[in-house]
């Protein structure tokens, strides 16, 4: 029963440069959980996520993510932390000079995959999961915004992560398309057993797709274990 949590932060202070953005953060996220990180722009959602994927170093407090000790992170270990995560951004773009398939293949090669057959299998697998199995040959600009974001999610799933970190993944999408993305993320969390932490400032999504909420506010992160919405 004592399974290690996917994310565990205790007494963490998050800085941007010298300014303290979030103080005394205590968060635990377990396997397969779907967690919103909600708060107004500039309250530190991205900073918290960056700490989780090793873009901001952990200076004060303790934290582990997918079994990696954030205190012991350095540039040599960060790549291996990231191979155990999937990151999805609003603006984490596909490479526009190559097809969807080649975008995914590029990411696989960059993380040490070499077997062509296995790579093809994996690409088909993730494209299938995001519902784009017929669009591998397309160039990114031939896809709609929602489809592009699905490819981003497919890319995040390539290394079968236990945790997906999504920073405003619906930020540029219209409401219907956003719903599709939300359903996809929830399905991944359910079917793949991946924990998802999704930053957003869109409260409407919470109402439509209720789940646990972490709120960034006044330099603090507050935990609303189950969603009740005002």
């Amino acid at each position: 029963m004592a399974e290690q949590p996917i994310i565990q932060l205790s007494n963490v202070n998050i800085y941007q440069g010298t300014s303290l953005i979030l103080a005394d953060v205590n968060v635990t996220v377990n396997k397969g959980e779907f967690v919103y990180l909600i708060g107004r722009t500039g309250t530190g959602k991205s900073s918290l996520l960056k700490t989780l994927y090793g873009d901001l170093s952990l200076k004060e407090g303790n934290g582990t993510v997918v079994g990696f000790d954030l205190k012991k992170m350095d540039w040599k270990k960060v790549p291996f932390l990231r191979r155990n995560l999937g990151v999805v951004f609003q603006d984490f773009q596909l490479l526009t000079d190559r097809t969807v398939h080649d975008n995914l293949k590029f990411a696989l090669k960059a993380t040490g995959w070499t077997d062509n057959k296995k790579m093809e299998e994996k690409i088909n697998d993730v494209l299938d999961k995001v519902g784009l199995n017929t669009k591998g040959f397309k160039m990114p600009y031939e896809l709609s915004g929602g489809e592009q974001q699905r490819v981003d999610i497919a890319r995040a799933m390539l290394n079968s992560p236990k945790l997906i970190l999504a920073d405003e993944p619906t930020g540029n999408l219209d409401p219907e398309t956003s719903d599709g993305i939300m359903q996809l993320l929830f399905r991944i969390s359910r079917e793949e057993g991946a924990a998802v932490v999704m930053a957003t400032h869109d409260y409407i999504l919470l109402q439509k797709f209720p789940s646990r909420v972490l709120r960034t506010e006044n330099g603090k992160v507050t935990d609303h274990a189950s969603v009740t919405f005002v």
């Binding site: 790549p79 773009q93 526009t96 990411a107 960059a110 390539l158 540029n172 999408l173």
Partner: protein, 291 residues
């Protein structure tokens, strides 16, 4: 997820590696010139050194047997390349041949001394060794004095060293310029590839993996620079042949081959090491700040 054209890895103001290649080629060319000078200077100064004659001038009353005994004992020393005994008569004969004057008839006696003439091995023809040799020879009581052209010996070494130092100094300066040049090229290359690099970083590529294409490129560029520089040196050697045909006979092809191989190795090293260093440096920074 708006579509922003231009955010691609192919559209870019392609950084030019040309200046870096030429810069490294220039450094190598200078180093190569220095190498050629050193290789040939050794040959040249060896040639000169071994043509310097040390004259052991003997006292007037020395008997021929004594002189020849001394000559034989000197001949076994390691510094001797060739040795000959020149008697008073032979000296007069030579003088006559050289100046075409029969002064002995004029003077009624032979003022020249008998001598033992030594040509030394190049290794020993330097001021320090010569002093030691001179001292030991002077101890022989049949020896009057030792004579050789002192100035020539020390100048030979010094000039070569001076020219070498100047060229080496220029090389070091130029190498610094080249490293800055390469750094700048890498910065531009990484900026124009920032989406590609960001993607790699986010999915978890190691720095070594990201650096690999830059490193490979730099190896090719380094080799290219070396070939340019080598072509230049071959041109110089060819030109030297036209000017001083007698030089080509003392050319050391083995050493020149070693030099060229060395230039390729150094070229690749300069290019690779400074490229890799720059890539690693810029990977630590935010890619958008690179421009």
């Amino acid at each position: 997820m708006a579509q922003q054209p231009g955010k691609s890895s192919s559209k870019k103001s392609k950084p030019s590696y040309l200046y870096s290649i030429i810069g490294v080629a220039l450094v190598l060319f200078l180093l190569g010139t220095l190498g050629l000078i050193v290789i040939h200077a050794n040959k040249l100064s060896e040639f000169f050194k071994e043509s310097i004659e040390i004259q052991v001038i003997l006292r007037d009353n020395v008997k021929e047997e004594q002189a020849i005994a001394l000559k034989d004992s000197i001949a076994s020393r390691p510094y001797v390349k060739s040795i000959e005994y020149v008697s008073k008569d032979m000296a007069a004969e030579r003088f006559k041949k050289e100046f075409g004057e029969d002064f002995i008839n004029l003077l009624q006696y032979n003022p020249l001394y008998a001598s033992i003439n030594i040509k030394g091995n190049a290794r020993y023809v330097n001021p320090d060794s010569l002093r030691v040799i001179e001292a030991s020879l002077t101890q022989q009581n049949i020896v009057r004095e030792i004579s050789y052209q002192r100035g020539l010996v020390s100048k030979l070494n010094e000039n070569v060293r001076k020219i070498g130092l100047v060229i080496l100094g220029i090389c070091v300066l130029l190498a610094v310029v080249v490293i800055v040049l390469i750094d700048n090229t890498i910065r531009l290359a990484m900026f124009s590839n920032r989406f590609l690099i960001k993607t790699m970083q986010m999915v978890g590529a190691t720095r070594w993996f990201i650096a690999k294409p830059f490193d490979i490129r730099s190896i090719i560029n380094g080799a290219l620079s070396a070939f340019l520089a080598i072509a230049g040196l071959i041109g110089i050697l060819y030109g030297a042949d036209q000017l001083l045909p007698e030089l080509s006979s003392m050319r050391d092809y083995l050493m020149i081959t070693v030099l060229f191989v060395g230039m390729i190795v150094i070229g690749i090293c300069i290019s690779l090491v400074s490229t890799h260093r720059s890539v690693m440096k810029y990977l630590r920074l935010k890619l958008d700040d690179l421009y």
